[in-house]
Amino acid sequence: MTEPKSPPAREVWITGIGIVSSLGEGLDAHWDALNAKKIHVDDKRFAPYIVHPLAPVTFDAQIPKKGDQRQMEAWQRIGTYAAGLALDSAGVKGNKEILGRMDMIVAAGGGERDLAVDLAIMTADAKGNSSPGFLNERLMNDLRPTLFLAQLSNLLAGNIAIVHGVCGTSRTFMGEEAASIDAARIALARIESGQSEIALVGAAHNGERSDLLVLYEFGDFNLKEKYAPVWQREGTSGFALGSAGCFLVLESREHAEARGAKPYAKLTKVVADLAQRKQPGAVTKSLEALWPKLGVAGDSGNLITGATGAEPVTSEEKAFLRQHPGFAVRATGTMFGHTLETQFPLGLALAALSLSRGALFPPNDPSGFEVEKADHPDQIVVVGAGHWQGEGMALVEAVK
């Protein structure tokens, strides 16, 4: 119960990683796909929009009850699945004692709408058929009663609690890309300070949704017509939505050692900002201001970014990256598409995976901005700058 005001920060390890995405599921599949420079896009289903669809997944493997699967929309199934992979990877799956006191912070958006119901109401309205109670009547009669629960942001965490028994605490952060930066930041701060021992942190995103395309089209953020890697979208800026779920188990070193858990890496620092983007260059300045807070050693290293491909933020981030030319950059948006809340945990996961495999995965960038990096990494910086707001960074380090 004691939390002295300024205790020495405890070391926090990443002891579990779960990823499912357009490239497959699990660490080996992702490592192989990244090394093979695999990219999986679908430019037909939502043409002219491009998405990175989820690879085929047998949800039964992590969500055994069909009844549970039916209660969820795709984003919740993806997230509950990835959370299960992370718990397996940490060796705590089914460990009721640990799961019963495990803290959870999920970064979430919301679930898919019933497109058919929406369209029927909209077309009736466009025909002038809408009496005062029309909307109410259609919604009352046509919405599936439990659809709300599949849409509610905090019900991804709720489903993870039900399916996997993670039930210490449960918090859901919202707010697009920044939500997961803050989720990692708060989970880290709580463990460092002794407010928590072990936490499940992550997010999930279903990018194969017409209603999301409409929302991002309002701001002209969608990549159209032709796929291009993130650093080659100057003429056609935008992001290709991606489906992915990614969860991490974070744990105090003491807690991990006591149960004999092996770390993939340690999470040393997470910092975040809300730049006032009305001013041009604000993102570059914000990232520059965050950089010295990370404690990066030297002027060369490795960096994984969730750069979206949308403008002006991608160019502003690139201007920042150009000030650190010694860092080999990898943009996850090229391979995974833009997975919103999931992009930052994905960056952390790939950093930890790379550190544990002793190498940064190869560049996947015909523009040449990403370069080969042969040496064995000790540190990897993870950067996230949201498509419209929110900036953050993390330092992931090898455990020595």
Partner: protein
């Protein structure tokens, strides 16, 4: 133990500013006067047609309007009003320069019906699909709707308006959200990360689809006439909650910082606790263990024994299940001391302000401590014989109150409790 620390050596977290808006009115004064007079803010909805709805009343905040009409816009405005009041009272920092982070409890955001229908009409056809919608969505015509319907939009607006520091956190733990926002602020101050935090819960989401969604889950009262009598926590004939709007804001500060700048201390957040229920998406575990554990964790966090709690500001939604479960679990935690604890539910008057409820009720709990007067649970005409709380029924009660437990329980197994005191414990 040094003076600014609690018995566990952590910085004591105090409240130096509060603001509130509900269907009863804007501000602490108006709300407190009406709350203690037993007035209801629940009325028949007039903001949109109610034909075809099973529940036609709500605690809407009709004296605040926003243009364009969106629930998210109203949610933002309510938060702004409550925050302005809290900051004026705290007199902390400078204008648009709050010296700490923002933790915002807010409902999930999505494109709303008026805007969706506007988009449909813009297509210019009477038969269309999502392809047609997508064709007219871009090009800047609806650019404002992108920002409006981002989940982080309310928090970013508040962060800019009030100059909070760092990345603002928007959170949802369903009906426990307001309490979670306060808990995050308490934790940040206890870690020594911040001397002050702005914690806000806000909800302006009474719209047709929100009412339909809760209706389809059979969660709402359908006793529409008279609307003021619909919310009847702990009554035998209760049949559901009444949706409502509102916002509560709190400036939290370390005791050291508040004393250092000579701020008036309004109360102490002595303890916070949460425990997840993994039983079901909308129902509590029948054994009540997660709720019992949540209350016990909160008592332990405050370092208080059950006998030291002298009032419970109940979650008290007026749903058949919640009120019964809340009684059963509270009885286990407080045992033979329970009959000595007056219990009341503000929701009988303001309705269930969902994402805001934990924050709104924390403000009311502190006002209870300040005035040594407990607001009533109105509509308490037919007590449920299975709920043996000492309900403060229908009339406010003067009482010696030193420590209040405020409970919040939500869909998704979310349980959170707070303990608020007048003085450091």
């Amino acid at each position: 133990m040094s003076a600014p620390s609690d018995k566990f050596g952590r910085p004591i977290v105090v409240v130096t500013g509060m603001g509130v808006v509900t269907s009863l009115g804007a501000g602490k004064e108006d709300n407190w006067r009406k709350l203690t007079a037993g007035e209801s803010g629940i009325r028949t909805v007039t903001r949109f047609p109610i034909e075809g709805l099973k529940s036609t009343m709500a605690g809407t905040v009709d004296f605040v309007t926003v243009d364009p009409v969106t629930s998210t816009g109203l949610t933002e405005r309510l938060a702004e009003m409550a925050t302005e009041e809290a900051l004026a009272q705290a007199a902390i920092g400078a204008k648009a320069d709050f010296p700490g982070p923002l933790f915002l409890a807010v409902a999930p955001v999505e494109v709303e019906w008026p805007q969706r229908l506007e988009l449909g009409r813009a297509i210019g056809k009477t038969e269309f699909g999502y392809d047609d919608m997508l064709r007219v969505s871009g090009g800047g015509r609806f650019a404002a709707y992108h920002h409006r319907f981002m989940f982080g939009s309310v928090a970013s607006h508040l962060a800019e308006a009030f100059g909070t520091k760092g990345s603002p956190i928007s959170l949802s733990t369903a009906c426990a959200s307001g309490a979670t926002a306060i808990q995050l602020g308490v934790e940040a101050i206890r870690r020594g990360e911040a001397d002050a935090a702005l914690c806000v819960g806000t909800d302006g989401s009474v719209n047709p689809e929100a009412l339909v969604r809760f209706s389809l889950l059979s969660a709402l009262s359908t006793q529409n006439d008279p609307p003021q009598a619909a919310s009847k926590p702990f009554s035998k004939n209760r049949d559901g909650f009444v949706m409502a709007e509102g916002a509560g804001a709190m400036v939290l500060e370390s005791y050291e910082s508040a004393i250092g700048r000579g701020a008036k201390i309004l109360g102490v957040v002595a303890g916070c606790g949460e425990l997840t229920d993994s039983f079901h998406r909308t129902r509590s575990s029948p054994d009540g263990k997660p709720i019992i554990g949540c209350m016990r964790k909160t008592l332990a966090d405050a370092g208080l024994a059950p006998e030291q709690i002298d009032h419970i500001n109940a979650h008290g939604t007026s749903t058949p299940e919640n009120d019964k479960m809340e009684y059963n679990t509270t009885a286990v935690v407080f045992g033979e001391h329970l009959p000595k604890i007056p219990v009341s539910s503000n929701k009988s008057m303001v309705g269930h302000t969902i994402s805001a409820a934990g924050a709104v009720e924390a403000v009311f709990s502190l006002l209870t401590l300040e005035h040594q007067r407990i607001p009533p649970t109105i509509n308490y005409e037919i007590p449920d014989p299975a709920i043996l709380f000492d309900v403060v029924g229908n009339k406010a009660r003067d009482a010696k109150v030193t420590a209040v437990m405020s409970n919040s329980f939500g869909f998704g197994g979310q349980n959170a409790s707070l303990i608020l005191t007048r003085e450091p414990v």
